[in-house]
Symmetry: D2
């Protein structure tokens, strides 16, 4: 039952926090707070467990994991004592974090990625490996005809021009290597017809997009509330102030647009109409790994009365994301074992911009998740 | 299908707003914003419709309905133009709003209330009358042995000492007159074993308690969100600043305690534990019919990281409550017609402190409501 | 002592609110709340008084003043009863609101504006006329060599190319007609060396820029507080959500940039350094004449402790600006009478982006204003 | 120039943070952020400097200073590295922190306190010792005739009944020992005619009350802003949520009332009238040394328009208070050296409830402080 978790962006805050957390929980040094599969109703239902996960990954940077861990402790994301206690375990993972390959043709890069995945699986005797993208958000890629057809894609990849954005190339390589793929970012990933075709052909499941960690999580419960009470939302505006590496990247217009679109989709989907307003994202280096989001909702009630609600969310994105990485690795591995292929739409609970025609209200997503867990639980354990 | 709505507190803000709203909707002068039974999925499912409702009620004050309507317009709760357009209709209702009877013995008072209900039913040829308490919050009553047994209660009511608080006496009289009873306040109402016995004996349904209009509504979606994400809520504190008659009453310690207890129950019920913190209620005359509530939630995530959320709700309680009065009158009448007796626990969606062992998360309450509507819908309409 | 107030943008919300207010105060129908010169320490110190003001102006639109007044009443900016009571007085002002002239050469336009000012003065026998720009914000104009020299400017204005932005052309015309000029917007106005030269040559005072009505007002007291306590402000970010005509204009990038720059200047000036962060301005039609601004300040205290403050300001810009228009008209007229020419830097209290090297903290600006009032008060009145 | 700082409550959070801070600044390990006398305009003006301060004090608890320092580091109030680097210096101070004496008669207790002060002065060869009360807030004491007269007080103190609350007994002892006294709490301290008499007789200055560290600091700039703009504040309500030892004490009704009264005084003093509303204080153990305060201000502008402002302050009270302790010790010592006796009213800048008829607006208090600094600066240094 030992299961690999291969993280694209393995030296980033989310990845290293999830590694430290899994190690700490396994060692009995921390409670699994924030892990959905460890909440009272779902505990012990899904295998692999947290203790079965083995970590590795790719990254373009070379900052050592223990240095990153120290930075996270300094920033208040993980306790300093934990990083010290887990120093040796983290050093062991270091062996399995490799530089992201780049070849002149994307087909070659994909081969190199797949080879790394094979090596990781073999080295640890893993039953399966789940690839999860936690690298920074990409801009929307330019359209390309090969995106629509697997044959055309294979042909185009051997050419000198890049065809796929990095997240999709990683997905292609993962699927080629027999690994399910999860995209925790708003990047393109498997969202191309050619890659869906590949996943189904290979009998592999995939999931995404864009982990729902803070402001959008709140929106996904407030918007249904307004809808159920038949209150008319007139405007919904927000601003996200965030630091850290993610913030610096989101200060780039392309990535910003991709992210902001992902954040607003929940409103139209749950309300049935799009209220006025936008979500702004601003980078403030000084905020570090913490994010402050403020939203203003103005709404109309009985006989046209104007009312309003504001909320401020002050959260640590890495600490909110990391336990979901553990949940997603476990659920995707279990789905793979159960023979699922194509998009796992029941994982909408975890994502801002979920795959498929699925409900965007958190309550219905929660029910879908519970149904999935029931379907994946071995009969003698449910 | 003409159905009476008899309001205890008929000259108050909530009552008069619901009358004006029903008249305006029937006349095509206003949309049914805020009426849950008029939202897309539930529209035209439950009879009686808003247009079938006929209003009357009791009150201890004698301020004319049109004067109260003018005050509500002045306060921005209802449009001035509407109060003018509906002047004659409101004047017609005035005929059916009577002073709350008081006799030396509570049995006599109950008889007089019941007689008023009979007269109202006969005068308008109503199929049935639903009694709804929208008067101000009472303190918790002192315990009395007659509360536990219907026979003992009947005997005690003829004595010179008051046995029941006003809300329960009204409930007793309503049930005696064959009328379902709904308590929109946190007062005792039917929550005494003797009155439950009477309702079942008479084959009458009842509902309550304490309309969920603002801050608690928000809590009922946020608390499940924290629970589902396995985030540990450490503190949840709030303050409600409100004016109006309701605010003045809630400034009294007894009523305040009853209300504050009602507001906190949702947390323990949905989280499974009670976080530190209280809800304060302060009266500020200057805020008029509007209420501002502020809540601070501090919570712990992965590896103990401290995070926080605040929200401010600025709403008009009368405008939030009035459409729910119309919903509750319709649903309770339909439940009565369908032969239901005892507590209608599927109406938890509407209440802060619902009857029965029911879920406190809004999403599950929404499902229960939808199931009730399905059960009550005539076959050819569902 | 009758003094003219000629408003550029006379049919806009700020202008019409200030007219209604002046009329209402004169008629004893309203208190002078928000008028700084009517606060306890300054009352009866500056002449002309509010009752001495006579209104006129230019506008590019032709919406009648009473129609605009009705819109303002509908939007909750002014009481409906007041607009009705003042209908005739407003109709009288209508005679003095003229279309903004445009000629093929800017020199011709300036002549036409000046002629309108002369006619207004003559028609009402006014002692003097103060011109105040309350039209919408312009983008920064392209630089032009004639901006730096009055002779060159006069020569350039007769050519076919526009040399001055509208606010500066109005200022030029006003000064030509012997009228002091006040810019309540962030537009260029008199902020060109050639116009300063003209004002000094003509012995005329001027004032500006950009009325300080809400969020920046708050900043101008909070920033000195942090400075005086030697707390280090690390980030200061904000978002302004506003509707109305002003909001629509500020949604244009050029105007937006001019406004946002004006709003941030106070921080660097009072703190002595520029913290990270920006002020965003978003247009939400549905908010009408009201504006909601949210600011987040993160700061560092003793031994590096991180702390934070947020504030939300929900104000009606027209209602905040209008009384300041009355104050500025009175103060500028009094300064003119006292022989002042050039920038009246003591009026910094009123502006986001004040003229001259002046303090940006509100407290010091308040003292400068009090000193000005003392200097302008007739000896027997002070 | 070596000056003693004797802290009543020397093992509490504020005291230990101020000790660590002074040691760290002297050692060049930390910047004097938050120290008002170290801000650009006041630096190097007042002697003694931070490096001249020598710490000692009384406490009723016996928790070692280094244990308290470790707790403060754990709570995020001071950096862990600093507590380690300063371990030996803190251990040295430990020698001068003694148990608060108690004798059967208060006169005896006062003698014992004075003896400890004398010993401290002698042991370190101090020029003078300033006594500062940073212990927890007391309830208002019952009135006693001896409070009004020094002779009567002296006589009463030898009796068996307690006459003075602890803060006043400490003040009495300090003045008896020739030490100026500062009360950083809302407790009674020197605010009794008999103690004022004693201070003047002894030629000693004193200062107080209740350090202005957070919400009230903000009020002291916002309230003058509303007054200067002639905006009518209708309601001002707030809630303070705080943990720590201070919070636990303030949960007691007596201390709570003393504190809340101190917090509201600024409004009536700066506005000239008392708006509706109260400040609530709630204890939430889980918030630790941090405090969150939320205030809602509703105000009326031109023509009666309703507007509103909210702010949230999230600060660490110990970190905000500690640098002010250093400032107050230095200023009070300098005032003593300059021959001042009685209340130092120019220190109102530091206090919620300042002594004397002084302005409550921060800006005027800032000017008074600057004037005091100028008066106290040696001629060759100013």
């Amino acid at each position: 039952m030992r299961t690999g978790v291969w993280l694209i962006g393995a030296r980033g805050s989310v990845a290293v926090t999830s590694m430290i957390g899994a190690l700490a929980i396994r060692a009995g040094l921390a409670a699994p707070t924030g892990c959905v599969l460890e909440s009272p109703g779902l505990r012990d239902r899904v295998r692999p467990g947290i203790g079965d996960l083995v970590f590795g990954g790719h990254d373009i940077t070379s900052v050592p994991l223990d240095k990153k861990a120290a930075e996270l402790a300094e920033a208040g994301v993980v306790p300093l004592a934990l990083t010290r206690a887990l120093h040796d375990d983290l050093a062991a993972i270091e062996q399995d974090v490799r530089p992201l390959p780049t070849q002149s043709a994307q087909a070659g890069t994909a081969d190199a990625i797949a080879a790394d995945l094979e090596r990781f699986r073999g080295r640890h005797g893993l039953e399966r490996v789940v690839v999860i993208n936690v690298s920074t958000t990409e801009p929307f890629p330019p359209p390309h005809p090969a995106h629509a057809d697997l044959g055309a894609l294979r042909a185009a990849l051997v050419g000198p021009e890049p065809v796929l954005p990095p997240s999709s190339l990683a997905a292609y390589a993962a699927l080629r290597a027999g690994c399910p793929y999860v995209d925790f970012t708003p990047s393109t990933g498997t969202r191309l017809p050619a890659l869906d075709e590949l996943a189904r052909e290979a009998g592999l499941p995939y999931a995404g997009h864009d982990g729902k960690t803070g402001e959008t999580l709140v929106k996904s419960v407030l918007a249904p509330m307004f809808a159920q009470r038949n209150l008319k939302v007139r405007t919904w505006s927000g601003i996200n102030l965030l630091g850290g590496g993610d913030g610096a990247n989101l200060a780039q217009p392309g990535a910003n647009a991709a992210k902001a679109a992902s954040k607003q989709r929940v409103l139209a989907e749950t309300l049935g109409y799009a209220p006025q307003g936008e979500t702004r994202i601003d980078y403030l280096q000084d905020l570090g790994d913490f994010k402050t989001a403020w939203d203003l909702v103005t709404f109309e009630g009985f006989l046209g009365t104007s009312m309003r609600m504001e909320f401020t969310w002050h959260g640590c994105d890495s600490a909110l994301a990391a336990p979901l990485i553990l949940d997603l690795a476990r659920l995707t591995a279990a789905a793979h074992r159960a023979g699922r292929s194509g998009p796992i739409t029941e994982l909408a609970f975890f994502f801002k911009d979920p795959l498929g025609q699925v409900p965007h209200g958190l309550a219905e997503q929660w029910q879908a998740l519970n149904a999935l867990v029931a379907a994946l639980s071995p009969p003698d354990e449910s």
